[in-house]
């Protein structure tokens, strides 16, 4: 087959700028071959090179005594005691999931799993964070069904529980949904594998599924450009998942990792064979010779260009110690997988690719791996036509019927029960799930250890739209607060930074502000960022999404038996608020749902206060003082109280009294930060008082658990008085009713 001749036009069609094309020519000292052009275009795509974000990401704190592996590898790792490491990462699969929701979401799960087990960890828990467009948008239901089905289909089949997540709806995502998937695995701290090609003469193995033409240019064309109206036409760039093949690959790799064969191993994810070989040689300071004639293919007449750029799923590149090849082949034969030696580590410092005896690419590794353009894109604070961030409450009528408003909020798709979703995910396989989906954080025990891990994903994108820096700070604080509500001390986070087109200065400004917000909260709460992912170009026809810096966080509970859940559990317990009531209505779900307003200052966040409240909660749980702990977030204290009444087995009411404030709506539905609802036996109150004093965390006794009604009085008036059943009904029925 005749390959097209390479010129600037072709380079630009590949997404390279004229300057980048010149740089390629300078590196090679000649015009690249067609295959080389393909390699450069994917390696220097936004998706693979982080060219717009890299200068900003340096501001994250990434170290701590618990950190075993920070950013830069396939995933981050922390020490969780007992000689074990938790390895985790979150990644986006936004564009593919919009184009083909089932396969897009499924392969998103498959991709993040490979990032985890390539490090030597057995994946034991998945989470996700999803954003869809308006519930009324004609495509939304189709996308929800497909994405949930894809996550379930892949995760259930491979046998890794999906234990938690979040989902929000907003018209800002009509043309660009977000599918962020996170996975955590457990490895021996001393047996973490890395993506490095070391030792010239060692053998490069290709393992897993065969290579086809699927996903070519997924990274460069799908993930690194905005959508236009023709998104459907991009369907061929979406890969197709095969969870059974991945299961085989997972088991075979873990078996191989018990031997001493492996020098380095890396997933063939975005940009497949290209990025895995370039990155491994880059980290190892070596070169790699590849012989494409040995690559197992599943389609005829594949060209070197196609083989190098295919994003066929369920494949890995493994560098094995010379002389152990037969052992490697034997293990992959056992699992009925391809395990083929396709090349060798060299000392040339070049990636050299042969096909039918001819050299089709010869690229110095260092300049392509590290020499990717680093852009300092212009930034500019957007000028809003409307006065979004100003809110004149005097022009908004206070709530007249709080009971009705509460029911309305509970029945909204953003606040209602997510059971319809998580019931489709196997969240119990591997028999580790102590706190199931539906609480503030999921908790899984670690077999063979006293510890448990708590996991959560979080982001309020409305806050990030109104004030990116404050919104990002809150995302970190709230994720950490979710963990605290389960009794866990936050250890580290992974992020998935979803933004619009970085070529627009206001998007870059949002990005930079969010990075600063995350960094500030991380510094203050001492939570390092150990890995993550940036997803730009979430934009259709010039309209970008709300900035959505999703946080995935992991914490440790010293004694698994003390893991806490969020529902009232005992008749007669006291209801206590740790934190202060607050009356901030800005940016709230209530304003958006009831007044169709997305405005106002986002809630204040005092990070010292936040820390005090969280540690008071953790101490109280550790000392076995409380029966439930629940964060007050979207929907305010009224929604948090109602949710606390919805215990999956039965449910208990409560009677609480709040002091009268300036406005009823702000008091009941405002989203002031740093607040946790606890329930505990009366006898434990003095101990809680002492903890709160020591931690300098304010607290108030609000009322008592019991009966079958939720009664909230403000001052002398009973403002909300409804049975738990009549509150629970709209909350539990909203999602399935909408999906029908």
């Amino acid at each position: 087959m005749q390959e097209p001749s390479v010129d600037l036009d072709l380079a630009q069609a590949h997404g390279l700028t004229p300057e980048e094309f010149e740089k390629v020519r300078a590196i090679l000292g000649r015009t690249p071959t067609f295959t080389e052009l393909g390699i450069f275009s994917v390696m220097w795509s936004e998706h693979c090179s982080y060219k717009s974000s890299r200068i900003h990401l340096k501001r994250f704190p990434t170290t701590g005594p618990q950190v075993l592996q920070g950013p830069g590898e396939n995933a981050g790792a922390i020490d969780i005691g007992g000689g074990l490491a938790a390895i985790f990462k979150m990644e986006s699969h936004n564009h593919p999931s919009y184009v083909e929701p089932y396969q897009g979401a499924a392969t998103g799960v498959g991709g993040i799993l490979r990032d985890i087990f390539t490090m030597g960890a057995r994946p034991i828990a998945s989470l996700n964070s999803l954003r869809f467009g308006s519930p009324e948008h004609p495509r939304t239901k189709y996308l929800v069904g497909g994405v949930v089905g894809g996550i379930a289909g892949y995760g259930n089949c491979i046998g890794i529980p999906t234990v938690g997540g979040e989902v929000m709806f907003h018209p800002g995502y009509n043309g660009n949904i977000l599918v962020n998937v996170m996975n955590l695995g457990i490895a021996h701290a001393g047996r973490i594998f890395r993506g490095q090609a070391r030792g010239p003469g060692n053998t490069v193995f290709y393992v897993g599924s065969r290579t086809g033409r699927d996903g070519i240019h997924g990274a460069s064309l799908l993930a690194s450009a905005s959508f236009e109206a023709d998104s459907e036409a991009k369907r061929p760039t979406v890969q197709v998942g095969d969870p059974f093949a991945e299961k085989l690959l997972l088991e075979a790799c873990l078996e191989l990792m018990k031997t001493d064969s492996i020098i380095g191993i890396q997933d063939m994810g975005a940009a497949g064979l290209t990025s895995s070989s370039v990155e491994m040689a880059g980290r190892g300071g070596t070169g790699i010779d590849l012989d494409l004639d040995r690559v197992p293919v599943r389609e005829e007449r594949m060209t070197p260009y196609e083989m190098m750029l295919s994003e066929s799923q369920e494949r890995m590149l493994v560098v094995v110690r010379r002389g152990t090849e037969e052992k490697v082949r034997e293990i992959f034969r056992k699992w009925d997988l391809e395990g083929v030696a396709v090349g060798e580590v060299t000392s040339t410092g070049h990636l050299s690719v042969k096909f039918r005896g001819k050299r089709v690419a010869d690229i110095p590794v260092k300049p392509i791996a590290e020499g990717a353009p680093i852009l300092k894109r212009p930034m500019e604070r957007p000028v809003r036509e409307d006065s979004d961030s100003r809110l004149d409450l005097s022009r908004i009528k206070d709530v007249a019927n709080p009971g009705k408003a509460l029911k309305g909020l509970l029945a909204s798709l953003n606040l209602c029960s997510r059971e319809w979703i998580y019931r489709q995910y196997d969240h119990m396989v591997r028999s580790n799930t102590i706190v199931r989906p539906g609480s503030d954080a999921a908790v899984i025990r670690i077999k063979g250890s006293q510890h448990a891990l708590a996991l959560t994903t979080d982001c309020n994108s409305r806050y990030c739209y109104l004030d990116p820096r404050a919104g990002a700070r809150i995302a970190v604080a709230e994720a950490s607060r979710n963990l605290a509500c389960s009794g866990a001390v936050a250890q580290a986070l992974t992020d998935c930074l979803n933004f619009g087109n970085p070529e627009r200065p206001e998007v870059m400004w949002q990005f930079s502000e969010c990075v600063d917000g995350i960094a500030e909260a991380c510094q203050s709460l001492e939570i390092p960022v150990i890995g993550g992912n940036v997803s730009f170009y979430n934009e259709t026809e010039g309209k970008g999404i709300y900035p959505t810096p999703t946080i995935g966080m992991v914490g440790i509970i010293e004694d698994a038996r003390s893991a806490m859940q969020c529902h009232f559990a005992r008749e007669g317990d006291l209801v206590v608020l740790v934190g202060t009531l607050g009356e901030e209505l800005g940016g709230s779900e209530y304003l958006s749902q009831v007044h169709q307003l997305e405005a106002g200052a986002v809630p204040q966040l005092d990070l010292a206060r936040e820390e005090a409240v969280q540690y008071a909660c953790i101490d109280a749980i550790t000392e076995s003082l409380v029966a439930s702990a629940h964060d007050c977030s979207e929907g305010g204290i009224a929604v948090a109280l109602a949710e606390s009444c919805f215990h999956p087995q039965g449910g208990l009411g409560a009677e609480v009294k709040l002091p009268a404030g300036k406005r009823l709506d702000a008091l009941l539905f405002g989203e002031s930060q740093s607040r946790i609802l606890l329930s505990l036996q009366k006898a434990n109150l003095p101990k809680l008082e002492k903890i709160c004093q020591e931690r300098d965390a304010p607290f108030t006794v609000l009322g008592t658990v019991g009966g079958n009604r939720l009664k909230i009085s403000v001052g002398q008036d009973a403002e909300i008085n409804a049975t738990v059943a009549e509150l629970r009904k709209p909350w539990s029925e909203a999602f399935p009713t909408w999906m029908v």
Binding site: F244, K247, E251, Q424, H427, R430, S431, I434, A560
Partner: protein, 227 residues
């Protein structure tokens, strides 16, 4: 007592079963690779949950051709206790060791949740220590768990006391609301003629420890151990 846990390439719950029998109940246990033909002197065979061969075709349709199934079959016909949990049940039905079939759930969705089971027979090694009528809480996790058999088979199962468990409410009442997947006669588990082979869709392996908030599943393992 020694448990043999069959591992198909797509098994997912083999470690959960191993953990229960080995670490919780302190019994001997070993994994049996599906390409093998021996049971390594096991006294009881467990076919665990999962997606044996990916199950892109019918669940269990390929697993019945795995070499080990011939040996399992022989072990069963010699009276050895065999339990198939979830996918294991699907495989036993496909292999003809148990009657009936498991088809798509009524809702067409995969379902992961707790259910209640009423113990209908204690004439099996796995239920002999569970009082007749006892209600157990147990998780399910399946997309194809709707039990189906023709009318003649159903009435035979009933007459011969071979329905081991039925889905019920927390008080033990049978109703359609408590039947998560639409199984005929609310059947959650059945026995073979001799009573030594049990298949059930719910997961006793997921509820055999206090830390998981539910120990109802222990009774099945303890029954067979105390034999």
């Amino acid at each position: 007592m020694k448990f043999g846990i069959v591992v198909f390439p797509g098994s997912n719950c083999e470690h959960d079963c191993y953990h229960v029998v080995k670490h919780v109940l302190k019994q001997d246990a070993s994994f049996l690779w599906h390409k093998e033909k021996t049971l390594a002197h096991s006294d009881c065979v467990i076919l665990p949950g999962g997606f044996a061969h990916g199950d892109y075709l019918r669940c269990g349709a390929m697993a019945k051709f795995s070499p080990i199934m011939e040996t399992v079959s022989r072990f069963a016909s010699d009276g050895g206790p065999v339990v198939g949990i979830c996918n294991g049940f699907q495989i036993l039905a496909e292999a003809g060791l148990l009657p009936g079939a498991l088809i798509r759930n009524r809702t067409l969705h995969y379902l992961c949740q707790d259910v209640y089971l009423r113990t209908e027979s204690n004439a099996s090694p796995f239920t002999r220590k569970i009082p007749h009528g006892k209600v157990l809480k147990m998780p399910i996790g399946h997309g194809e768990g709707c039990y189906y058999a023709d009318a003649k088979t159903l009435s035979r199962l009933e007459v011969e006391g071979r329905i081991a468990f039925r889905y019920c409410d927390s008080k033990g009442n049978l109703d359609e609301e408590s039947n998560p997947n639409g199984s005929l006669k609310s059947i959650a588990g059945v026995l073979n003629e001799r009573g030594n082979v049990l298949g059930l869709m719910p997961h006793p392996d997921r509820c055999a420890e206090a830390i998981l908030g539910n120990e109802d599943g222990r009774a099945l393992f303890e029954s067979v151990i105390s034999r």
